[in-house]
Each structure stands twice: as structure tokens, then as C-alpha cells.
């Protein structure tokens, strides 16, 4: 029989109420995050998990970390995730077909085994002392105590981390910078290309869209001298979207039909 009772000490009743509400919610949100299909929904669920963890930190006397969690993770990191999602395209949905056979059952089984291992390990460990609590360490405030530690014992790690931050910022700039493979075409190059390639009929530019008494916009084709609409006067993008209006209702009736 499993013996999951690492007795490290009791917490106060309000904290246990908080835990039993937020803990299951957090785990459920994590499960949903792995299972939902759309990346945006995953991001929202991850943000909710991070806020829950921030509340856990504050409940465990880590006030500074709780606030940093909200500011850095739910503020900056999740913002960055959503921004990149927008940039890369929300509609690049995850294909749920398995490319490696039996990957999913194997992954779930091994992760369950790993989690079970961790949990039984935690449950069976003994620390040799009851929970101390942070009331003594936080006697003159969490932030002063943390900064005392950060700038004395961990000052070297702090400096190294600052170098890492600068390197990461530089690396992101280098990666995001795309340089042109060929030189940007000048106006002269464009002009030469217009006359050398294609027909001379469009060298002076494509015809304008139609201008009618009742309608004057880019979504109606102009008329050729013989009365047929000119396909070249409409943007190909508008045509692909199906936003082109027939020019017929705006045309004047031909003279023969009038009388």
C-alpha cells in the first residue's frame, strides 16, 4: 500500500481551503492545456495556471516571487507567446495525427510512471524536522530578506544571470533580423523591368477601376470601349476574396435600347 504521508507540518485552515479549491483547478487546467487543439486556448489556460501559482507563492510567504510571477510570466512571457502566435498564424492548427507509431500511449504511460515515481518519492521522504515556516526569515519583510541574500551570498549568480539576459536580448535581435538576399530594386530597375517583361500595353500602368455616377470605388471594373468590363482594372486580391461587384447596374443603357 502506498504511504503518501510526508508529515512536514499543518497549514492554517484558510490556506488549506485555498489549496483545495485552486490546486485541483490548476491540475485540471494543465491537463486541458495539453489536450486542447488550439494554441491560443493553451496559452489562456497556461496564463490561468500561472496566476494560480502566483497565489500559491503568496500563500506560502513568498510575496516578492508571487508578484514577479504575475508581472513576468502572466504579463511579459504570456504576452510574448500570444504575440508570436499572432505572428506565426493562429490557424496553423496542430495536426493530431501521430507521425511516430504509438508515440502517444508510450508518452502518457512513461509520464504517468515518472509522476508516480516523483509522488511516491516525495511521500516516502523524511526531512528530519517539522515545517519551520518563514516567519523568522521574513521577520523584517520578504523583499529586504531576499535582497540581503541576493546581493551577498548569490551576488555572483546574479551577475552571471544579468550577462545571460543581455546575451539573450542580443541573440533575439540577431535571430529576428533578416537581411536581404538581393539588393532592393530601385525605381530605375522597376522601370526597366516593366518595359522588358510583359506587354507594352501595361507599361504605363494598369487601368483604373470604374468611375460611375452611382458608385466610385475599387471593387467595380472599368469598361472597355466595347462595353465589356476590363478584368485588369480590378485587384486580383479583391477578385480572390469575391468582393468584386458587377458593373452592369451602374452602366448607362445603350442608346439602341433606350428608345
Amino acid at each position: 500500500m502506498l504511504n503518501l504521508a510526508l508529515q512536514v507540518g499543518k497549514t492554517s485552515t484558510p490556506e488549506s481551503v485555498l489549496f483545495w479549491i485552486l490546486g485541483p483547478a490548476c491540475v485540471l487546467a494543465a491537463l486541458a492545456m495539453v489536450m486542447v487543439k488550439k494554441a491560443v486556448h493553451s496559452a489562456i489556460l497556461l496564463a490561468s495556471i500561472m496566476i494560480t501559482l502566483a497565489i500559491f507563492y503568496i500563500a506560502q510567504d513568498a510575496l516578492f516571487l508571487g508578484i514577479v510571477q504575475v508581472v513576468v510570466y502572466t504579463g511579459a512571457v504570456m504576452m510574448l507567446f500570444l504575440f508570436i502566435l499572432m505572428l506565426v498564424g493562429v490557424d496553423t492548427s496542430d495536426s493530431l495525427t501521430e507521425t511516430i507509431p504509438f508515440l502517444r500511449p508510450i508518452a502518457i504511460l512513461s509520464s504517468l510512471g515518472f509522476g508516480g515515481l516523483l509522488i511516491t518519492l516525495i511521500g516516502r521522504a523524511t526531512l528530519g524536522h517539522p515545517m519551520v515556516g518563514l516567519s523568522e526569515a521574513n521577520a523584517d519583510g520578504n523583499v529586504p530578506a531576499l535582497s540581503q541574500l541576493l546581493f551577498s551570498k548569490y551576488v555572483w549568480a546574479f551577475e552571471v544571470v544579468s550577462a545571460l539576459l543581455i546575451t539573450a536580448a542580443l541573440g533575439a535581435m540577431v535571430l529576428a533580423h533578416n537581411h536581404r538576399v538581393s539588393a532592393r530594386p530601385t525605381q530605375r530597375d522597376l522601370s526597366i523591368a516593366r518595359f522588358r517583361t510583359g506587354s507594352l500595353a501595361t507599361a504605363a500602368g494598369l487601368p483604373n477601376p470604374g468611375v460611375y455616377a452611382l458608385h466610385n470605388a475599387v471593387d467595380v471594373p472599368a469598361l472597355l470601349p466595347d462595353g465589356t468590363p476590363a478584368a485588369a482594372s480590378i485587384s486580383a486580391m479583391l477578385e480572390a476574396r469575391g468582393d468584386v461587384i458587377e458593373s452592369l447596374p451602374f452602366q448607362l443603357p445603350a442608346k439602341g435600347e433606350d428608345e
Binding site: 483545495w20 490546486g23 506560502q60 513568498a62 507567446f81 508570436i84 496542430d94 511521500g123 541573440g171 535571430l175
Partner: protein, 99 residues
């Protein structure tokens, strides 16, 4: 409530994140699962700091957050670069080294 329950939640979140990293194909979702694993370890650090009564665990969790922020910045830049050249954010498509 037993204070070790936070550790159990942390272990659960870590293994769920591990499932996500292996199962999901979208590189951004894989990245989010890695963030979940880092957060789970942070929760364990904070809980152990409280159990042991000193703030070293909180300082380490703080450093983890900084390193995670760096990792997100560089990783997302790599994803954007790959997306720009291959028009895909799936981790299965980036397999040039295999051939």
C-alpha cells in the same frame, strides 16, 4: 492540510508538462509545456524554502524565472526564424539534419 501537498501538485504539473512536450506537435505549444515544467519546479522550490525555513529556495526560484524569460525570448525568436523560412511551426517539419 499537509504542506507537502504543494509538492504533489508540483510533481503532477511537471509530469503533465512532460506529456505535452512529447505529444504536441506545434512548437509554440511545446514551448508552453516547457514553461509549465519550469513553473512546477518553481513551486517545489518555494515550498521547500518554506519547509526548511530559509529563503535560499526562493532565490533559486527567482533565478529560474530569469533564465526562463531568457529561454522564452531566444526560443520564440528561433521559432519565428524557422517559420519564416519553412512556413511551418510544427516540430516534425524541421527535420533537415535527419537527411
Amino acid at each position: 492540510m499537509n504542506a507537502a501537498n504543494y509538492l504533489y501538485v508540483s510533481a503532477l504539473l511537471f509530469s503533465i508538462g512532460a506529456i505535452g512536450v512529447v505529444v504536441r506537435r506545434n512548437a509554440i505549444v511545446v514551448f508552453m509545456c516547457i514553461e509549465l515544467m519550469l513553473n512546477a519546479s518553481n513551486l517545489a522550490f518555494v515550498t521547500f524554502a518554506r519547509i526548511n525555513g530559509n529563503l535560499d529556495g526562493q532565490v533559486v526560484a527567482f533565478f529560474t524565472m530569469v533564465v526562463a524569460a531568457c529561454e522564452v525570448v531566444v526560443g520564440l525568436a528561433i521559432i519565428v526564424t524557422i517559420y519564416r523560412s519553412r512556413r511551418s511551426a510544427s516540430v516534425d517539419d524541421a527535420s533537415l539534419l535527419k537527411r
